[in-house]
Symmetry: C2
Subunit: 112 residues, 2 copies
Amino acid sequence: MDMNETLDTHLQELRRGTVVLACLQLLRSAGYGYGLLEDLERRGFATDANTLYPLLRRLEKQEYLTSEWNTDEARPRKFYRTSEAGIRLADTLTEEWRALTAAIATLTAEES
Amino acid sequence: MDMNETLDTHLQELRRGTVVLACLQLLRSAGYGYGLLEDLERRGFATDANTLYPLLRRLEKQEYLTSEWNTDEARPRKFYRTSEAGIRLADTLTEEWRALTAAIATLTAEES
């Protein structure tokens, strides 16, 4: 594993968890996988279909998302929406992110 | 897996990566495992010896940390220090954290 690969691994570890938070927030308005994938990318949460689609199924199984098939159009699509438990999880994760951001800020403040 | 376990998993995923960043920043001044563990806990980066010690060895192997044995006291201790590459990694991770924080802030702003 060269330096660039280890850098990527550390960056991915830092990003992990933020996609869950972003999905839970964005799916307060119902959305389907591909549309969500585009939205996440546009907003700076780098992910891909192979990561996102299993994550959505996992969050549904954990009851943080609910789902419904929309068959109005030619191609049926599964729409996900954040459940009440999912909104609580999003709030908890947002709080934790703030606490970590404050902790990280103290590290950097001491450098100078 | 009940709701509390899945909550813990999601919290841990969010925290993962921040311990690497915290270690790299704190070890700009040389430190040893147990002292670092206490410092991390005091600063709000929850971790434990079983996670931290292998992480320090991994970061050393990846050349983000250097190490030296201090044998001045009765009990020899391995002191770690962040390398030049480690400082660059810490800077990159800090930048990424800021970008993610900005991205997360836009999600929450839209709620209200």
